[in-house]
Symmetry: C2
Subunit: 399 residues, 2 copies
Amino acid sequence: MVKATYQISVPGFLANGISAGIKGGEEKDLGLIYSTVPARAAAMFTKNTFKAAPVLIDAERIKRGTAQAILTNSGCANAATGKEGMTDALAVSSSAAKQLKIPEEHLLVCSTGVIGRRLPVKKIESGIGKLIKGLNESGIEDAEAAMMTTDKFPKIAIRKGIVGAKDITICGIAKGAGMIEPNMATLLTYVMTDALIDAKALNTVFHQVIDSTFNAISVDGCMSTNDTAIILANGLAGNNPLERAQARLQRFREMLTDVLAELSQAVVKDGEGATKFITVVVDGAKSKSDARRVAYSVANSNLVKTAFFGEDPNWGRIIAAVGASGIPLEKEKVTLSIGQMTVFAQDTPANISAAKLRDIFRTGQIEVRVGLGSGDKSYSVYTSDLSYDYVKINADYST
Amino acid sequence: MVKATYQISVPGFLANGISAGIKGGEEKDLGLIYSTVPARAAAMFTKNTFKAAPVLIDAERIKRGTAQAILTNSGCANAATGKEGMTDALAVSSSAAKQLKIPEEHLLVCSTGVIGRRLPVKKIESGIGKLIKGLNESGIEDAEAAMMTTDKFPKIAIRKGIVGAKDITICGIAKGAGMIEPNMATLLTYVMTDALIDAKALNTVFHQVIDSTFNAISVDGCMSTNDTAIILANGLAGNNPLERAQARLQRFREMLTDVLAELSQAVVKDGEGATKFITVVVDGAKSKSDARRVAYSVANSNLVKTAFFGEDPNWGRIIAAVGASGIPLEKEKVTLSIGQMTVFAQDTPANISAAKLRDIFRTGQIEVRVGLGSGDKSYSVYTSDLSYDYVKINADYST
């Protein structure tokens, strides 16, 4: 994942991750990202009705457009915990802000883990001192480690480039693995940058880029109570400020897209039990939303996903999923190709070699392309297969 | 499934099932249901855009409201097979109608199995003679056996009762197992009855009863290309004719509901890899469609289904699925109970024993009740869990 040539750090950002015993062992489970100066901030959150307490707090705080730190625990989602959950989250937030000596409303709090359990406030509070004491410029990897749950590998992406006449850095970290679907597509992702950028421009660009990256992936079609994406831009690069409709904002957008595309694809590759990485491209649609519905109908079909897991070239299930999308289709115009091989067109199967198709399934990286033939809009979704391990991981998660 | 006290037969109906070698072995794969006189007929079909050739044929033929026979093959769905698929289905239909000496438009044809493969017309044609020759009054079980694919047990339900001053019989058979979702919820289900009923009344009642039975179950959220439900009513009971808005029509509806409820629940119990039978009841909704959306959001959640498989009392996933349904909810009013145990109310977890909850999960028959507290509409969905065996069965189906 990580470009080995770069050290994982961003000017003006300190980070750390420790074990506070939330998960009951030695694993890191409490992490902190801290900017030495208040940063411009933007965020997107789950649309689930049962938003976790930290999500409700952050959604309120982010409205100011400024934040300086993100405190994260894994091992407990603090979701579906009612007023007590809110009290717990506020207690932790108050404690951390005090010790960091920043206004409480400049601290964002995030939780991930089992839903419906009380936050172990005492454990977190007693870990905060050590966590802050250990903040350091190379601590991003530790902060990432502290937010992992069923993730098998850390997800960190970094880009450097000249924007507005200065070198800037954009570094993102993410945890994912299950409950991966819009909106949002990962439980937690944070972006740190030293770029100097106008608050409105930051908010707009971040929403756009999340929509084309994290909101275009799916592991299991489930939307979590805690999904949160945050960007902090501390401005320390001293570049010419990035504002709306500038060429240099476009350059920033490209770098940010690179970072979030890498992270979101890493989340799919690390999808619970994933053995395949599948790109579903739908084009020729009348509208983007039609293309999107068809793409998700395919990407979320358990029958399609199990066929990919089994390397079973049963492409008829993809056609069935396209037809089940509920979008009006002219079926004579629909085409399906897998890899570069056309398997279905003009309402008729192509004369293909099942063995060759199976070879494509076996590569592990499969592109499914559905043409609708009725317009010029398209949409792409990244997804994984459905394996024994998905069932295994999820059949016994809370205990 | 079968009430042992009744012989499985319906006056005026003959049936049979044989092996025509479509599946490549000795298994039965070609079945026929035949009424000795033309019957009133009604049917419902998949809404998938890529309807299989036999579905397109039957949808046209059923418009007359009369049919006399249903020919079914398993082992090949004849779906996504284009014009050739249509030619194949018509060839088989023509052959069977000729040998049965009935008008071709009185014959319905159904196929189930792998999508995207040509129908083995010659094998079927050479089996038809034997199939017809063996038609008999006790052949319903053989016809059922011939339409099974991954089904582990046959699904036959029968009721007898006095309607319109005469004894009538209603017998239904079904095959299911995978791709179980509205609309329709099973691949194939046929109902035979000797009741005398007006064509319009039959059509209305059948649609209503299917909506409350087969369209209220889900195994994996996938809609097939071949789903077909057919009822044939040959009138031989000689009862006072059943027409709209009559008390005796209501009695018929109840019996039909009994038969189709038993069959649809059997389909869920035999869901691919199912180890649990889960009833999701949503009440207190503003509209039936709201209740339905919430019920399916829970019933189709892979995270919920794997938790049930693992007997893991992770009820937070159910709350997350409720919140992800997209329906506006007053979260303070939402309640969740499992078995008879309230686990969540007033946005707060109840103080429950995880061990007791796990015991409920272990019973194998679990009722999940979600109260929305904002109206008086409700909806129930029957579903199964998601197990290793679901993945196993579906990872290697076509080969």
